[in-house]
Structures are given as structure tokens and as C-alpha cells.
């Protein structure tokens, strides 16, 4: 399959997925009991004025038959027009332009940190004795089982309040990123290590590793040239999932560490029933996910063009 064909198929698939998400949201809005205009404006509690309701009706074409409404809805989305957040009173795209980079930065840093930690841990586990290996696998499993919201609080307690080493909130120096990134990265690192260790062990005891040793390579060289590559594949394969779980975790982490971002925006949008905002954020996170998936797939294709590992 050529790269161009692959890209075309990916883009087509992505559009279909986005369309499905949008459709689901459209149906969701219709399913909320009561006046859909009011629902869009945040439900009865929003105390939307009559004018605001009329504006929403016009904007979403609520006086039109449902198929027309649907087409209007899709048409707007296609033009990247997500409307105005009634809660923030700002265009949704503007808010997203603000929060998306922040969350993506956080998630990417956490992803990188998790990878590093996992590699380090997997490499250490290689050298460990039986007890060490057992202990290592316990640590991984426990790490993967720790909820973000708990870990974040504990890290703040220890490193910010008690020791005073790291800031609990961002002060613009980047030091404020350390704790949130760790909070997101540790559980993920636990997951990744579990995966990596298996494949690392398999790779290091494989015939090709023996072959590499037979041609005079040191154990460390074999680890770098072969072990890592094989260990990273299953983890890479999971990167799309990992990224998505990081976006989930970001909701909690952004709340705890008072960071602006997609997760916190979505949470407050959900709390305020801010449907335009919710729609925009959901579609954008789907888009981000699709991009990340395509990216990891591209990397996988580079590492393993023949799909030997799958």
C-alpha cells in the first residue's frame, strides 16, 4: 500500500469518524428533554433571555424541520464554526485555540516522560534478579492502578507543601509543569513498562539478539539496537490509546493543578451544559486523537514497514 493511498484512506476514515461524532452529538442534543434551544443555552438554570433563546433557535435552525437542522449543524461544523459559548460568552474556536495547545503540551510532555520512565524501568528490570523483577512488576502494576486525582494530591502534599521543592501551580517558569506531568506520566509509565518488559525480554532472548552477540556486539549495543526497537513497538502501538488516556487524565490534573486546558474547559462546559462548547471540544479532541493515531501509525510504518511485528 502506497503512502499516498494510505494517507487518503486515513483522511477519509477521519472524516467519517468526525461525522459520526458530530451526528451523535446532534442526536444527543435532541434527546435532552425540554426546549432544545434552552438545552443548547445550558438548560433551565442558565436563565437564558428570550432574545438569547431566539438567537439560538435561529442559529441552529430549530424552527426548521429536523433534517434541515441537521444539515445546518453539519454545515457550520464544516466551516469550523462552533458558535459562541454561552457560558464564557466567547467564540468556541477562540477558547479552543487557547486551551488546546496547553493540554496538548501537557499530554505530550507526559507521554515523553512516561516513555522515558518506562524505558528506564524496563532496562533496569532486565538486569534485576528474580526478586527485583517481581518487585519491579509489582511497582508497575501499582503505578498503573493509581488514580490521577489521588496521585496529584499526594505529589502536591509531598513536593510542594512538605518539601517545597516544586510549585503546585504554574508560575510561568515551567517548573510548575513538573508535578502535573509526573501525575499524568507515572500511571502511564506503569502500563507501558508492563508492555515493554515483555517484548524487551523476548527480543533480548531472541535468535537475532544472539546473532548480534555472535558477530561481536556488546550486550548494551544489542539492547540499544534491537531491544529498544522491539520494546517500543507494542508501546508505540498503544500510543494512540495512551494519548487518549492522557487527555482523560488531563481533566483531573488540570482541575487539581489549576491549569487551563481542554479538560478543565470541558468539565466546566459540561457543568454549565454549555452545548456549543461541549460540541467543539468533543470534536476537537476526536480530531487530536485521530491525528495522533495517524502519526503513530506513520512512525510504526517507519520502524516496521513490513508489519513484521503485528
Amino acid at each position: 500500500m502506497g503512502t499516498l493511498g494510505w494517507a487518503v484512506r486515513k483522511i477519509g476514515g477521519a472524516l467519517v469518524v468526525l461525522w459520526l461524532v458530530a451526528t451523535a452529538i446532534f442526536i444527543g442534543i435532541r434527546l435532552i428533554p425540554g426546549d432544545p434551544a434552552e438545552a443548547i443555552m445550558g438548560g433551565p438554570g442558565s436563565q437564558a433571555s428570550a432574545e438569547a433563546l431566539a438567537a439560538a433557535r435561529a442559529e441552529f435552525g430549530l424552527d426548521q424541520p429536523v433534517p434541515v437542522q441537521y444539515l445546518m449543524f453539519l454545515g457550520k461544523l464544516a466551516q469550523l464554526d462552533f458558535g459562541t459559548s454561552y457560558a464564557l460568552k466567547r467564540p468556541v474556536t477562540e477558547v479552543m485555540a487557547e486551551v488546546l495547545p496547553k493540554t496538548i503540551t501537557l499530554a505530550l510532555l507526559a507521554l515523553a516522560a512516561a516513555w522515558l520512565l518506562a524505558l528506564l524501568f524496563a532496562a533496569l528490570a532486565m538486569r534485576a534478579n528474580r526478586f527485583g523483577a517481581w518487585l519491579g512488576s509489582m511497582v508497575e502494576i501499582v503505578a498503573a492502578a493509581v488514580p490521577h486525582f489521588w496521585l496529584g494530591a499526594v505529589l502536591i502534599m509531598v513536593f510542594s507543601s512538605a518539601l517545597g521543592w516544586l510549585p503546585a501551580v504554574d508560575n510561568g517558569t515551567g517548573a510548575g509543569l513538573v508535578l502535573p506531568v509526573l501525575t499524568l506520566a507515572l500511571p502511564l509509565a506503569g502500563f507501558l513498562t508492563q508492555l515493554m518488559r515483555d517484548s524487551l525480554a523476548t527480543a533480548m532472548s531472541s535468535q537475532f539478539a544472539l546473532a548480534a552477540r555472535a558477530r561481536g556486539e556488546s550486550r548494551l549495543a544489542v539492547f540499544w539496537r534491537h531491544g529498544l526497537r522491539h520494546a517500543s513497538l507494542p508501546a508505540l502501538n498503544l500510543t494512540g490509546w495512551a494519548f487518549s488516556s492522557l487527555l482523560s487524565g488531563a481533566v483531573v490534573v488540570e482541575v487539581i493543578f489549576a491549569r487551563p486546558g481542554l479538560g478543565r474547559s470541558l468539565l466546566s462546559a459540561v457543568l454549565a451544559r454549555d452545548i456549543p462548547m461541549v460540541t467543539g471540544l468533543a470534536l476537537f479532541s476526536a480530531l487530536v486523537y485521530i491525528l495522533v493515531m495517524a502519526l503513530t501509525e506513520a512512525v510504526e510504518r517507519a520502524i516496521d514497514p513490513a508489519g513484521a511485528a503485528s
Partner: protein, 265 residues
């Protein structure tokens, strides 16, 4: 799975089952009984896990909270798994076009991160235990469904099934004797792994104030209350947090022992 770890696994399951079903056997107190005079007691001989801001015994609450927390986790996994088995089997057995459609739908579900999907659903349904279960269930379904699908597809094309064909087995016999039992085992492992994660996500929703309402002793909700007093009463956060970790890690261990991999959740 070694004998010892098998026994440990069963003990673990039995303990939590007992805790969930008959908490008063392990913690005879009333998890809702307040006693303001006893508020913020540190763990000690009287209150092993300490007390919370209303003087409620945290040990009692953690034990009595198991029912709620585990129920949500189990119910969410059941929802996710049920959906996944239907969709995954359908996709695996269906003609290519239908398989394609189901895969797209799954991808659409998958493309929104779990907690965001849960939030999205709650945006439409409002908060509560029911929506939390559906939300967590739905958000885990696509991962399971893909696995079910690939599992059944692999089995469908396996030499094992070919051998059964050559031996003259009919479709029904092949499904009953080989397809279903062989697909089920890894799923069981996965479900076990998944329950741990579902418990965590459900707790996260409670933590965000979108799950179980107070004063029910659900772990996520307890943590949510405890974090306010992190500087005063660390034990309020520690023990419910530990309960979640123990359940999730235990589920992972059992799942792995059953042959599961830590993926697709």
C-alpha cells in the same frame, strides 16, 4: 498461574465480594453515623483509619463503600463488555461492508478519550450513578469490542477451526465447542483487568462531583471530600485512595494471571 497465586486470587476476590455484599460483617459500624465531636481523629486504636470531617469512621466507610464502588465498576464493565461482545462478534462475522461500518462507529467512540466521553454523555444526561455507569461502560466498549472482533476473526480463520471443518463439524458445533469457549477466556482476563480501570474512572467521575452523591461512602466521593483536608487529615484521602489502588492493582494481577495483557482498556 501457580497454585499459590491462584489461592491468593480467590482469597482476594472472596474478600471483596464479602466486603461488597456483607460489609457489616467486617465493619459493624454505621458508615453514615456522624459524631462531630470526633471529627478529624488521626488513625489510632479507636479508629484504625481515623475519622473524617463529620467524625465518621473511615474504616467503616471504606469497607461499606466497596459495594458502591465495585458495583459501579462491575456494572460499567458489564455494559461495556455486553456492547463489545455484540458489536465485536457482529463485526467479525459480518460481511466486509458491515464490518467497516461497525469499525468506524467503534473508532468514533474510541476517538473521544474515556473521561471526555463520560463528560459528554453527562452533559446530555446530567450527573448521577446511572449516567456514570453508562458513560464509563460506553467509553470502554470500543476497546473491548476491537479485541472481541480480532479474537473471533483469528479463531474463525484458525487451523483449529479448519481442522473441525475437515472433521465434518457443523457451524453450530464449531461455535459452541471451539469459537465461544476459546474467545471467552482471554475476554475474562480482559474483563478482570477492565474492572480495575472502570473502578478508577467511576471514582474519577465521583471525584469531579458527577458520580455518587454524598454522603454515600463511595471511594471517589470520599477522596473528593478528603482532598479539601489534605493538609489537616491526610488519612481521609489515603485510605479510600489505597482501596482504589488495591482493587485496581489486584484486578490487574488476576487479569494477568488469567493471561490478559495490559492493553486496550
Amino acid at each position: 498461574m501457580s497454585r499459590l497465586s491462584k489461592i491468593l486470587a480467590w482469597l482476594f476476590i472472596a474478600f471483596w465480594a464479602l466486603t461488597a455484599l456483607a460489609p457489616q460483617l467486617i465493619a459493624p459500624g454505621d458508615p453514615l453515623a456522624i459524631n462531630p465531636a470526633q471529627a478529624f481523629q488521626a488513625p489510632g486504636s479507636e479508629h484504625v483509619f481515623g475519622t473524617d470531617e463529620s467524625g465518621r469512621d473511615i474504616y467503616t466507610r471504606v469497607i461499606h463503600g466497596a459495594g458502591d464502588s465495585l458495583f459501579i465498576g462491575l456494572a460499567a464493565t458489564a455494559v461495556g463488555m455486553g456492547l463489545a461482545i455484540v458489536l465485536g462478534t457482529l463485526a467479525a462475522m459480518a460481511p466486509r461492508w458491515l464490518d467497516g461500518i461497525i469499525l468506524r462507529v467503534l473508532e468514533a467512540l474510541y476517538s473521544i478519550p474515556s473521561l471526555l466521553l463520560a463528560l459528554l454523555i453527562i452533559a446530555f444526561t446530567g450527573p448521577g450513578v446511572g449516567p456514570a455507569i453508562i458513560a464509563v461502560g460506553l467509553s470502554t466498549a470500543p476497546g473491548y469490542a476491537r479485541l472481541v472482533r480480532s479474537q473471533i476473526r483469528t479463531l474463525k480463520n484458525s487451523e483449529m477451526l479448519e481442522a473441525a471443518t475437515v472433521l465434518g463439524r457443523g457451524t453450530w458445533l464449531k461455535i459452541r465447542n471451539h469459537l465461544v469457549p476459546n474467545a471467552l477466556k482471554p475476554l475474562l482476563a480482559l474483563v478482570t483487568l477492565g474492572i480495575g480501570q472502570a473502578v478508577i474512572w467511576a471514582a474519577a467521575l465521583s471525584f469531579l462531583g458527577l458520580g455518587t452523591p454524598p454522603p454515600a461512602p463511595e471511594w471517589g466521593a470520599m477522596l473528593s471530600a478528603g482532598r479539601t483536608y489534605l493538609h489537616l487529615a491526610w488519612w481521609m484521602s489515603l485510605f479510600p485512595g489505597l482501596a482504589i489502588v488495591v482493587v485496581a492493582a489486584g484486578a490487574t494481577l488476576i487479569g494477568r494471571a488469567l493471561g490478559g495483557k495490559a492493553r486496550t482498556i
